[in-house]
Amino acid sequence: MSFFRRYAQNIGALIGLAILAVVVFVALAAPILYPGSPWQGVAEPLLPPFEDPAYPLGTDLLGRDIAAGIAYGARVSLLIGIISTAVAVVIGVAIGALAGFYGGRVDDMLMRFTEFFQTIPAFAMAVVLVAIFSPNITSITLAIAVVSWPPVARLVRGEFLSLRSREFVQAAVVVGQTGPRIMATQILPNAISPIIVTASLMVATAILTESSLSFLGLGDRNMMSWGFMIGAARTMLREAWWLSVFPGLAILITVLAINLIGEGLNDAMNPHLRGRKG
């Protein structure tokens, strides 16, 4: 059975993919759907949702369109989610691969280093990092990457540890391939499935972390973000529920979709689960 057939057997994964496709489309089309800045007041302040067809999700305190805010917020969330995960995966794979392949003292040193990061609560550390390097999109992305690579490193180390004693690796050693080449061309391709599954779930965590930072006022003040929208409106929950409910739903749905996709990828790629019905 091909990978795609196996993936498609999981209904939840398909739904997740469909939702994510919509979110990506909205993010890409935001400047076309809403040509102005999402920070610009465009209508009466505090317009409730579903009243004016031009502003289906209502407006906030300054008359800013909530729907535009959500569209532009999708860009920020996806951008930060994907880039920070990419950075974290690169760091994690590099450290995990070296530790797992060479073992011994290299392994000890790198793993103690990794544990150092694992002992600090991830979110607290992200808050500190962002607070030190004034909040902007670069510092937020890097802070999320810095706190999320250790699990990848542990995972990759484990895979490398078990794969390096297999026959095909020993064969590569015998024919005289160098260490880095063996890691890149022999072991890594065989360890890629769990890395992809983990990375997909990390994107969801990164989106949540960014929202939490923005909620606490540590977001990039020049970029509309879902977390910021909730943080700014949370005290008005009783007076104007739509200010925080819609961005909250956006976060919920996006994170759920990515988790479903991660689950689907896991089912499709994990040989032990083949044949399991989704």
Binding site: W39, G41, L61, L62, E239
Partner: protein, 525 residues
């Protein structure tokens, strides 16, 4: 209009009676009970002489007292001084002290305490008093055990307004003389003359004050205990009031939209009175050293591009009044005859074109004052309007310490600030416009860098005027020039609402509102 010596001792009882009649109507005050309030944020200290932030004054105002107080019309009222007298030449001020006043530790309050406070303690610890005493006061003496005399070097028309709680809290000499004021352990166990004494301060939870049985006003205070609860979350503070855990909300305790909701509850009273002495006035602080703000026409253009009525109505939920002049309309010397800036985008664009500024060449860093969500929204609105004019603008996130440092060091493009007026322009307003006050180290000076010798001259003339009409004329002209120059982008006068359960009577009695000693306040049983 040279006045001969004026003796206003007769007001002593009268003022109290008037307010009692207005607020309590036919009801007869009862004694006893506990009043629950909120200290937000938790004050760093209760020693009013060392810290004059809002919550410190609110709690500390029950422990310490000023020499004078001020009515809602800013008329002078007795506090620790029962009478005052000004000589004809405006150079000699004589205060007669109350009799039988005792400190909380039982020691008698004497004229030495007042002299120590004025000459040593506040001169060292209090920036506003230091400026007044060093600039104007020649000597502080005591001709008899119940009188203290301030001799001035030159007349200062605002002098009598410098004696309320936040400007001149009287401190005990026997505790502070010869010590390092800031590290004196007594700062944690404040000793004052006020109607309540500190019983317990449980950090992060509450401050508990109890009745001072030896209070100098016979039969007062009426309430037995005061609790100032510490509730860091704004929504929880509103809930605490709804549930009856607290009886009083001071201006700023809850957010604007909650004020509207809570005001409509049954058995709840509100007032915007009690802020006349402070009358906070909010403004945009732009750095006149940097383009485009060094261009007067560009500043005028931006003023026309900002709909200040929108800010008051939508961001501040109507709790304010669009500013007309640098003087609050509730204070003396205010005039309406100034240059005005109605919201008019077309005019703004026209003025900007005339100014020669090309907006797209300027990136303005908009730095909100980190005092809560409403200020953030105000900054976002101003940024949006700057972008409408064609400027590039970016918001800068900053915390309270960073804001204070950036403004103190003149390291900003555009930020927001507000000023307390302290009853007289010479005390609260002039500091933001006098070129002699272009100093680093405090965010409440002339940080924008405004230099206009004519304005300097007018402020000086008004402050030294012995004749009130002369001061008025000089101030009127100063307001006209300032509103034409717009060295600060005047936004609005803040209106703070005090909300309380109607069982609490005579809560807001003077121009310093809930900071006033709550000796006559009572709770219906």
């Amino acid at each position: 209009m040279k006045k001969s010596s004026r003796l206003i001792a007769g007001l002593v009882g009268l003022a109290g009676l008037t307010f009692a009649a207005a607020a309590g109507a036919q009801e007869k005050p009862t004694s006893g009970g506990t009043l629950n309030m909120i200290a937000q944020p938790e004050p760093p200290t209760l020693m009013v002489g060392l810290n004059t932030q809002g919550p410190t004054l609110y709690v500390g105002g029950q422990i310490y007292q000023g020499l004078l107080s001020y009515g809602k019309d800013l008329s002078l009222q007795p506090s620790l001084a029962k009478a005052w007298e000004v000589s004809e030449d405006g150079l000699t001020y004589t205060f007669t002290l109350q009799e039988g006043v005792k400190w909380h530790d039982g020691k008698p309050f004497t004229v030495d305490d007042v002299i120590f406070t004025a000459d040593k303690f506040l001169r060292e610890a209090h920036p506003r008093w230091r400026y007044i005493v060093n600039t104007y006061v020649e000597s502080i003496t005591s001709p008899s055990p119940d009188k203290v005399v301030f001799k001035l070097k030159r007349p200062f028309s605002a002098f009598l307004y410098a004696f309320e709680l936040s400007s001149f809290p009287v401190v005990p000499k026997h505790i502070y003389d010869g010590t390092d004021y800031r590290t004196n352990p007594a700062n944690n166990t404040p000793i004052g003359t006020g109607p309540f004494k500190l019983k317990e301060w449980k950090r992060g939870s509450y401050i508990h004050l109890v009745k001072n049985e030896d209070y100098w006003k016979p039969g007062l205070p009426r309430i037995d205990e005061l609790y100032f609860r510490i509730i860091p979350d704004a929504a929880s503070r509103a809930v605490a009031f709804e549930k009856g855990t607290v009886d009083v909300l001071r201006g700023g305790d809850v957010e604007g939209f909650e004020v509207r909701r809570l005001s409509k509850l049954d058995g709840v009273q509100t007032t915007t009175d009690g802020w006349e002495m402070y009358s906070p006035l909010a403004f945009i602080e732009w750095n006149l050293r940097r383009p485009p703000f060094n261009n007067k026409l560009a500043r005028k253009a931006i003023m026309h591009a900002i709909d200040r009525d929108f800010i008051v109505r939508n961001i501040w939920f109507g709790l304010g009044k669009t500013a007309v002049s640098p003087f609050a309309s509730t204070t003396r010397f205010f005039t309406d005859d100034v240059v005005k800036y109605p919201f008019d985008m077309a005019k703004a664009k026209e003025l900007l074109a005339q100014s020669g500024i090309k907006p797209q060449e300027h990136t303005i860093r908009v730095m909100p004052i980190p005092y809560g969500a409403q200020w953030d929204r105000t900054a976002e609105y101003v940024k949006q309007q700057l972008e409408q004019l064609g400027f590039k603008a970016e918001l800068v996130s900053i915390d309270a310490g960073g804001w204070s440092k950036a403004v103190s060091d003149w390291d900003f493009d555009l930020t927001f600030n507000y000023t307390y007026q302290y009853g007289d322009p010479a005390l609260g307003v002039a500091r933001h416009y006098l070129s002699s006050n272009i100093i680093k180290g405090t965010p409440f000076a002339n940080n924008e860098g405004y230099e206009n010798p004519v304005v300097d001259e007018l402020f000086l003339k008004a402050a030294s005027a012995v004749d009130e009409a002369e001061a008025k004329a000089a101030y009127a002209e100063a307001q006209k020039i300032i509103t034409d120059d717009m060295p600060l982008g005047l936004l609005f006068e803040q209106r703070n609402v005090t909300i309380w359960r109607d069982k609490v009577k005579e809560l807001v009695r003077t121009g310093i509102g809930v900071n006033e000693s709550m000796d006559e306040t009572w709770i219906a049983q």
